[in-house]
Each structure stands twice: as structure tokens, then as C-alpha cells.
Point group: C2
Chain length 477, copies 2
Amino acid sequence: MSEEKLPTRAENYSEWYNTLVQRAELADYAPVRGCMVVRPYGWALWENIQSALDRRFKATGHVNAAFPLFIPMSFLEKEKEHVEGFSPELAVVTIGGGETLEEPLVVRPTSETIIGHMYSKWIKSYRDLPVLINQWANVVRWEMRTRLFLRTLEFYWQEGHTAHATAAEAEEETIRMLNQYADFAINDAAVPVIRGRKSTTEKFAGAQHSYTIEAMMGDTRALQSGTSHNLGQNFAKAFEIRFLDESNTLQYCWTTSWGLSTRFVGAIIMTHGDDQGLVLPPRLAPIQLVIVPIYRNDEEKSAVLPVVEQVKGLLSEFRVKVDDRTEVTPGFKFNDWEMRGVPLRLEIGPKDVEKHSVMAARRDIPGKPGKSILSMENLAAQIGSLLDEVQAGLLTKATRFRDEHIFEPRDYGHLKEVVQNGWAYAWWCGSADCEAKIKEETKATTRCIPLDQEGGKGKCIYCGQPADEKVYFARAY
Amino acid sequence: MSEEKLPTRAENYSEWYNTLVQRAELADYAPVRGCMVVRPYGWALWENIQSALDRRFKATGHVNAAFPLFIPMSFLEKEKEHVEGFSPELAVVTIGGGETLEEPLVVRPTSETIIGHMYSKWIKSYRDLPVLINQWANVVRWEMRTRLFLRTLEFYWQEGHTAHATAAEAEEETIRMLNQYADFAINDAAVPVIRGRKSTTEKFAGAQHSYTIEAMMGDTRALQSGTSHNLGQNFAKAFEIRFLDESNTLQYCWTTSWGLSTRFVGAIIMTHGDDQGLVLPPRLAPIQLVIVPIYRNDEEKSAVLPVVEQVKGLLSEFRVKVDDRTEVTPGFKFNDWEMRGVPLRLEIGPKDVEKHSVMAARRDIPGKPGKSILSMENLAAQIGSLLDEVQAGLLTKATRFRDEHIFEPRDYGHLKEVVQNGWAYAWWCGSADCEAKIKEETKATTRCIPLDQEGGKGKCIYCGQPADEKVYFARAY
């Protein structure tokens, strides 16, 4: 790491983000425009995200599989909205084994089509349903403006694809997985998200309707952090996914798809990060605590290091790193691990050794208020509690920040103002025209129609016509 | 599943393999020629392989990361042997976002080049070394003759890429990872492998030398099951991977790479499978035991099912499946799970309920000799022992089969004969010419020069010239 200061968030939020992602060694630019290398520290974070999600998928009856990277171009063309949505962003293989291919192959931007094709082969009877499959995969979308984790040509995600016998079951699954995402985001990532429905304009290309979890970043912009789509019978009809029901009648299936990607790493960085760098939630942090030995001479060193090893042994249930570098000072190490967002730091020096204690410093509370002295007795339990406190503290802080930046504008003039530094929560008549005008005039898009809302009736914030639902408007990533 | 019989291995080994892979729902053909869909049962097996390997990689100090799918064509051209080896099998993206690309992008066939490029950015000093990174990824090689798991256009693997300060450390790493592969193959997959060095002809394109673990399949053909390459300074020189050593002199790194792929699933199928179907080693089997309830009427059913649930609860440390299908008979279920290779079957009927016992049937020992009655007391421990016995039994059986099919031929005439139904272990002078002639005349290639050999001197089995080492010759997948 360099000792240069990070740009502050107030100075330049996007420079802060870009510098931090690279300096913390989460990711780096690849030699191909818009592609990224996820470095070991970033990948370890993603692996923890994967495991938190995969556990939830398996607990709700899903299994993993792997479908091919290459999709015949003709498959994408079978669902009209889908091809319109994706064709501008495709990477296409035209040469294989030195020969020009008869049919070009698309590098998957998402897998509804190829999976739909396979499901049409596998599903015969109602006994085969539901099919509940997920895959962890890389996908490619030829984006023009890219940014590490947030928008890259290639990214990593999971995509769940399910098939059901009835419309109701498909809708139930769509909401179930949305809820799993929200549970993960809130309880593991400490990212308070709002569950809602996407507008028709913002929904997935080919879906009947789409749901999303939306999070507010540190600059108040919104980040779509996971989506769950009810595909109705659109793909079932395009790919002939049919089953014989109990009365032996051939029926089309009802399908869903849902995905969460490495973009979520960006959500974690921008929800919790501060001017010192990353702040990682303990449940997902690759390193939950770092131990920094402190000594000035060989005598102190030989007193301190055995205790460091002893403490490490006591804390084997946690993800612990001992920073035993000799070429840098303890102060340098403090800054370095703060920048990397490690939730807890333990300092162990000769005085701590004498007193049978260690000094703990919380990443989320800077300076003295975040420090405490822990006795060596029952150390693991104390560390467990501190990590829980950090985890809970991050969620509280992020929720407060979000709620302080959500406004219910009086009128359209007020909306224009509040979306400069927050979200507007307002009645909307549902017309794509009002939505487009607001976007054009304010750069704020409809983020979601929240599932949890008070009900009642109001007037559209733009056109004044009657409105049944409220929606969040915000500038978004 | 269909009730049709599998082809026997003796009738047609490759038909047996192809039918079994699909019928057991391990994998299916994708709509793109040579690509495969790994179905949930096959992917669960691969996930267990991944976790067994990943544990070993992490225990030996490695970390995971993710490098991009797309590699600029010019990168491959930087290492002469490498581009010669891989250029006939490349898939090439020439169109992105609707435009023809200035420089075509290769879909990675392996990642030495792109990783070498990144290492040249990241490594500055001896303090940065060693770099010990692995990635789990999909790769693409445009193969003409493909077969599920064994050779597919896209496959899944891990590829480790490490950089070191000295030649000795790189060699040590290469052997260390070869040993990890062998340990995994023998102890988790019950696949007895032989560790050895590849001949110059058979080594990885760009390596200084390559090591392999070679396994014998049920038809006596060899399968290269994992490889570990010492790349010397070839890629370091091509990509300028350099570091300042302790005396401040700029040095080229020494690099290694090592990979094991979904091909290993093929190794498991063909090492242990029999005419009834798969036989999966308990440590890797997605389902370690299946419980089949047996009843003829509602009264029996209401006696049996609660015990089935109770037994399932007692065995929560294992991967257990209860087959509660009502539309098929117990006999059908027995065949079905045998075909799918589940190591143990428990049958629970009214008599078992009365006697507080269950009937266990081992997959690896057909019929009565493989059956035993287990009391409900201490059931988990008994199951644990039985699974250990199956695991050990599979390794013993496969090792015996292999050793019975390895021959030390008297002369070249004899070699020609034995490689029709086995491997030949013979002196070889090391000349590529003798190797080529033997291949041409017998279809047997050099599989490996085993690390464990007696030493001494002999005469080349082909030309009679002095030879220092013995080598395995075999027909191979």
C-alpha cells in the first residue's frame, strides 16, 4: 500500500471509490477494457458472500448446476423483449478452432434462454416440478462505461432459474428469493435494503415483473443490489417448457429467475466505507481481526510474540491475521488495516502482556471511544460480542443515514431539490411518460415501488393524476 | 430414469460410459457442439471435489482470486511454445457491443498469459514473493472429438499460478501441488494414481517440465487426472515478471501452474463404475446413503415412516436422502440408486421396525455379502464405519485392478501385446523418436516417468540403447 491519503468522499466520491478498491487490493483493471481482476482480498469477500447466499439457497430447496458459457445467437432471438434488451451488449464468438462458425455464439449475458432450452428437454410431468436450480457463473455484457465491481464487461454472479406448475407458485418463489436477498443484505452485509417492484420501464427484459432490493450508497445514490423476476410463461412459451399435469393435459410452465452479483461488493464498500477506507461487516470480512504485536527491542519482542501466538490460538473460531511484518511500524499497520476495513484490531505490547490483557480497537468507531481493554480470560467470548456489536452498529448507522436522506417531497419542485442529495418517496400514477420526464429533468429514476407501503390514494408527484402507489425516485449507479 | 439396462462395460465401454453419464443425470449435451451441461447431481460431486481440493490449497498457503475470461490475442503470442500449443483450439470473440473489435479476444484456454501480465504489475520486491494464487474457472478449448467430462469445449477447473524467487522454490511448489493432487485422488476419490514426469513431447506448452497423476480406467486406458508444471522463467521472461532481490538486483521470477478439472469426474466414473452403474466414493458422493422405506399397506406405512424420519435425524452428520416416492416400487428404487452410485442403502420395513434394526446394503459389494443388519443403537457410528469400509474397499479394489494390468514387457513384441489390455512399464532411452514410433505402431503414449522408481540402468524397449529411467506406456483418453 502507499502512504498517500485517500481522496475524501466529500472531495470526490468516485475518486475515493476507485482509489480505495485498488489500494485495498480488492480488484484491479484487466488489460481488456472494462474487465476486472478480482484480487485475493476481494475474492475472499465474494466467497463469504457466496457462502452466505448458497446456504440460504440450499435451505430453501435449491441445487446448483452449470450451464454453458456459449449460447447460439438464435436462442436469444426467441423471446422478443429479451433480445431487444440484450443485443446491444453482446460479445460474440465468430471463430472456433481456426474456422469461421456457421452460427455465431453469444457469450452468455444471462442464461434464461439456454436453461429454458434444457428445461424443455428435462421437464415432462408435474412430478418433475418444481425445478429449483441455481448456478454460480461469470457473465459478459458489453458495457461502455465501466467501473470496478459496479459495472464491468465480465462479472460474477449467481442466477437462479426455476420452473413451476402454477402462476401462484412462481410468484411465491420470486418473492421468497427476494426475501432471501433482503435477509442476506440486512443480516450478513449490514446493508439496509428496501424490497420493491420495478416499474415496467426498469424491469428485466423478458420478465412479467421484476422485484429488487435497493440500497443507498454513501453519496445517497441508489444501487440495485439484487433482483428477482417472475417470468410468467414468456420463456416457457418461447422454449416450449411444458409438462403433463395430473389430468394428463399439456401445460406451459411458469418460470422465475433471480440474481445477485459481484456488484454487491460495491454496495458493501459504498454503504460502510469512510474517509479512512473500507469498513467491512464482521460476518463477511475476510479478516475479522488483525493482531498487531508492539515492541521496541528484542527483550520486549520475546515477551510479546509468544502471547500473540497464544491469543491467536484462543481465537481460532475467528478469521484472524497476525501482522508480523518487521519492515513497517505499528502505526503504518494500524492505517493499513483500517484502510482494508478489518472490523477489529488487537494491539499486544509489553504492558498488555504484564497485565494479562489486550487492547481492542473497533474499526467502526474511530479513536479512543472505539477502544477497550480486554482481559485474557474468556477472550473469545468478548471478541464474539465485540464483533456482534460492530455488525449491529454498522446496520444501525447505515439505516440512520438512509432514513435521513429519504424525503417525501411536497411537490415536483421539491422532488427536484431532494434528489440532489437523497431519495424522494412520492406518489406516482404509474405512467411511463411521467417516469421518463422525471428522469430527463432530474436524472432520478424510479428505483422501486416498495412492497411495504401504507396504502391509500394520492396524486402523482409529476402530473397530479390519481395514484395508487408510492415509489422511490433517485439517481442510481 | 429409464428401466432399460445399461450396456455392459465388456460389450461397449464407451457406450456404457456415455449412457451412464446421462442416465445418472450427471451431465447432458448442450445445444452447442461439444459443450456440456453439468446437472445438479454431477455438480454436487464436483462441489465436493472442489471443497476437498480447496481445503488442501488453503492449508498449503494459497488464496483464491479471479482473472478475466478474455485475453488479448497478442498475449498468447508472447510465449512461443504456448501459442503453438494452443492456437489450433481457440475460441475467438471478434464482435463486442455490435462493433468489430480492433484486437480479437481469446476466450481463455488457460490463464498463464493474463496472470503473468498481472503479476508483472503486482510483483516489485522479494518481499512480495512467493505469490500463491489459485482460481476456480471455466476455460474453453475448441476440441474436435468431445465426450462428457473427459473432453468438452468448455470445462471447469482450478488453475494455480505461483511466482517464486528461486528455481528451487518453484520446483518444490510444483512437486508439493502434485502431491496434494495425489493425496486427494487416493484418499478422497479412492483413485490410485501414479505420480510422474511427462516426456518432453507430452509436457504443457510453455513449461520447463510437467508432472502428472495418471490413473487407470476400467478398460485399462490411462487418464491424465491432474498436472503440475514448472514453468521455469519462460513466462516470467515473456511477461517481464521481475523483482528486486535482497541485494537490490532485478531478477526474473520462477513460476509454476497446476490444474485439475471436471475431467476428474470421468476418472471417478471409470475407476469405480460397474455394469449396474456408478459407484461413488463415500467422501465425495453427493448422497452418502439413501433410505428406502418398505411397506405394503397404510398400517405398515404408518409404522415405518416415523422410524425413517427418526433414522434420518440420527444420521444428520451424513449426506442422506430419503426416497419417499410413491409412484415406483422399492425394487425400482434399489436399481435407481445403485445406478447412481450411492455408497450405502438402508432399507426400513415393518420387520426392521419391530426388531429396532435397519438393513444396510453396500453398493460396492453386490447382493447378500454386502448386506448387514444394524441395530438402532449407536447407528451413526456403525454407518460411519461402513462408509469407511466402502471407501477403503474401493481403493483396494482399484489398486488391485491397476496392478494386475501393469506389465513389464520382455521386449517390444511383448509391449505391443500388453498395451492392448494394460499398461507397459519399460525402460526408455528418452528419445522422442522412439516415443513417436511406439505411438504410431501401438497407439500407446508415454504416460509418465514415475517419481518412485527403482533406479539402475536398462536398455530402451524400442531401440535397445542405454536407458536411465522407466516409463509407463499406455493407450490414453
